[in-house]
């Protein structure tokens, strides 16, 4: 066993007087209680939205994609905008659970479970758009690589749209596996303290017979690390491939090499904003302020200002290159149809929401203000929605042929479809918040003695020691020599 030490200058990740049992109690008891009135209200509204979305989609499938305001010039509109927006939102969950795990950011333990859930629901919402954009959805399986019935003609492996099929489905599967493998031990905790038979039965099934055996934990940790290692390039690849949908084309405003990393940064940016929106509500409603602390929100706000600025740099790079390239089409797209022109307003909404407003987070006071964070999280998501709208529509609405120029506004089934995905997302999220441990119980326990407020008080004794004294103390304390240096490792 190693000395559990962390600088006392670091904020505790778990506030209050906690022991292992208290952690279980705090996180699991909301599952065992009846949901409050607010939950029912929220759930009902979500169901209504979902129903309206289902109606809009049925309308579209019945009458054909013609009911959407797409035409020959603007072939992609709200549908693909929403697709990219939802996929992007999903990225924060994977980032928190995978990349921050590799970077050993302790604060991820408070938010990873909910963020991963958000990822899965967001990807589910995203998937709807390309599927229903096909119009004849019963033919959707045509995108899968199988030799079709008119001879062995296959899908086009050169097409970025097909890469998307692989990317999104892999992403969904791997995220689901990652999330569920983390949930298994926590379900076992719910099962073993369950008082009702039904709960014992259901959580018993869901926990796959988990006991907490040391060997199983060892494998579980190896699995989590490798899945994190796999998910890290995976999350990059997914939005990269989404950006390829545009960047492999030769449409001015779409074909630019910076798209992959810039899309990824934007995705993380909007994803963190959505995590903030959700968790500010969750921590309040479920009384989890001691686990999702101001420190957690501040850390996420730092990620938001970082990624927002990266995105800002990319916008400026694009704008500069549109001039520097000395290609007239590129120049016109950016300077005449994007920053100006009938849809120019959307460009400035994007710039304001994504680049200018997030700069408030350079200030600690703002990062630690719940109201500011909440408002900003919504502004960022509006901004990121407009980013996709700007990329898609302002590149398309001015065709090479001026007679094809047009303007685009959505029809009601398009808006309804978008609202429906909100319904789907929140319906899932409400169910998750009620029936699942919204914080990873086991992971909180494993950082409790390093980062819990009451345990950190015990570390003050070390702070005055010089490095030499501290090191000497370490070796002196170490009675268990065989365990020294033998932390559970998994290679990655």
């Amino acid at each position: 066993m190693h000395l559990k030490y962390e600088s006392t200058l670091r904020e505790p990740l778990v506030d209050g007087e906690k022991n292992y049992h208290q952690v279980t109690e705090d996180i699991i008891s909301p599952i065992e209680a009846k949901p409050g009135k607010l939950w029912y209200v929220g759930f009902f509204i979500s169901l209504l939205l979902l129903a309206f979305g289902a109606f809009s989609v049925t309308w579209e499938v019945y009458y054909g994609t013609g009911v959407w305001n797409l035409n020959k010039t603007i072939g992609w509109g709200w549908d693909i905008t929403n697709f990219v927006w939802w996929v992007g939102i999903g990225h924060a969950g994977t980032l928190i659970s995978a990349i921050l795990l590799l970077f050993r950011q302790g604060w991820r333990t408070g938010v990873n479970r909910a963020a991963e859930a958000m990822t899965i629901f967001a990807v589910m919402c995203a998937g709807q758009f390309p599927i229903f954009h096909m119009g004849r959805v019963w033919m959707a399986f045509f995108v899968l690589p199988y030799p079709n019935t008119r001879g062995p003609l296959w899908v086009n492996f050169n097409s970025p749209l097909l890469w998307d099929v692989f990317a999104i489905s892999t992403y969904f599967t791997v995220s689901l596996l990652f999330w569920y493998s983390g949930l298994i031990p926590d379900f076992a905790t719910v099962r073993d303290r369950a008082k009702t038979k039904l709960r014992k039965l259901l959580y018993g099934i869901a926990s796959f017979g988990w006991t907490g055996s040391t060997k199983h934990w060892q494998r579980h940790e190896a699995l989590s690390l490798v899945l994190a290692g796999l998910s890290t390039p995976l999350v990059l690849s997914v939005h990269t491939i989404v950006s390829f949908d545009f960047a492999t084309s030769v449409i001015p405003g779409w074909h630019t090499t910076i798209f992959p990393p810039y899309f990824v940064a934007g995705a993380i940016f909007s994803g963190f904003a959505m995590v903030q929106t959700l968790l500010i509500i969750v921590r309040k409603v479920l009384n989890l302020e001691e686990y999702i602390t101001m420190g957690h929100m501040e850390a996420m706000n730092k990620v938001i200002v970082l990624t927002g600025s990266v995105v800002g740099c990319a916008y400026l790079t694009e704008l500069f290159m549109a001039w520097y390239a000395a290609v007239p089409y590129e120049f016109d797209t950016f300077y005449k149809f994007r920053a100006a022109g009938p849809l120019g307003w959307s460009y400035w909404i994007m710039m304001t929401c994504n680049v200018i407003t997030p700069q408030v987070f350079w200030f600690r006071k703002m990062r630690r203000n719940v109201a500011v964070t909440f408002v900003m999280s919504i502004i960022v998501n509006i901004g990121m929605w407009f980013e996709r709208f700007v990329i898609i529509c302002t590149s398309l609405y001015r065709d090479y042929l001026p007679s094809s120029w047009g303007y685009y506004r959505p029809s009601w089934p398009e808006v309804g479809f978008y609202m429906g995905t909100f319904g789907l997302f929140f319906t899932c999220f409400f169910l998750f918040a009620k029936y699942f441990p919204v914080i990873a119980v086991a992971e909180i326990k494993s950082i409790l003695k390093t980062s819990g407020e009451n345990y950190k008080r015990g570390m003050e004794q070390y702070e005055g020691q010089s490095a030499e004294q501290f090191e000497k103390g370490l070796h002196h304390d170490d009675h268990h020599h065989d365990t020294h240096g033998a932390v559970a490792h998994a290679h990655n």
Binding site: T24, W163, A167, R193, L201, I205, W217, A222, L230, S237
Partner: protein, 197 residues
Amino acid sequence: MAVKNFVVASFDDEAVLFPAVKKVRTAGYKIHDVYTPFPVHGLDHALGLRETSLHTAGFIYGITGTTTALSCMSWVFNSDWPLNIGGKPHFPLPAFIPITFELTVLFSAVGMVLTFCYLCQLMPFVKKHIFHPRQTDDLFVMAIEVTPKTNAEELKAFLASVGGQQINEQKAEAGWWYGRYDREDRLFEQKAGTVNA
């Protein structure tokens, strides 16, 4: 496996658990397992468990995915139905990279999770004996198998001396079986129905 006798002790602190594990092992007792509510770093080594090879399996699954993707796509484009798509070559390697990468990750992740579930015998409807209901909450529960050579009373006293609490003897199935957690299965009376691990 089979139904066996165990002496079970609980510990409420890792700082007590680690020395206890060491003492129990030096005393020559064979620890069946230690159940913990969260992964305790270093406990696997303290128990003398070997490193898992799960990552190696993951690597092999990954390579399988890479090969599958590359060979399938090039077979389709070169021999099954060669097409000229936008003047691109029949083996457009850069265009194959995204799908190849995705399948590598997919094969590796799915394969590893299945292997993990297989090795740990995890599946819906699988049931195992829980020595202490708080082993998934806040206790570290050590189970030691009672063999014909073991003096159970001596062992209990020894465990108490190294800091164990709530020490008791349990007769339990050491493996897994199909069952429901809302029912008490009396396995040692119907050994024939036991599914062996």
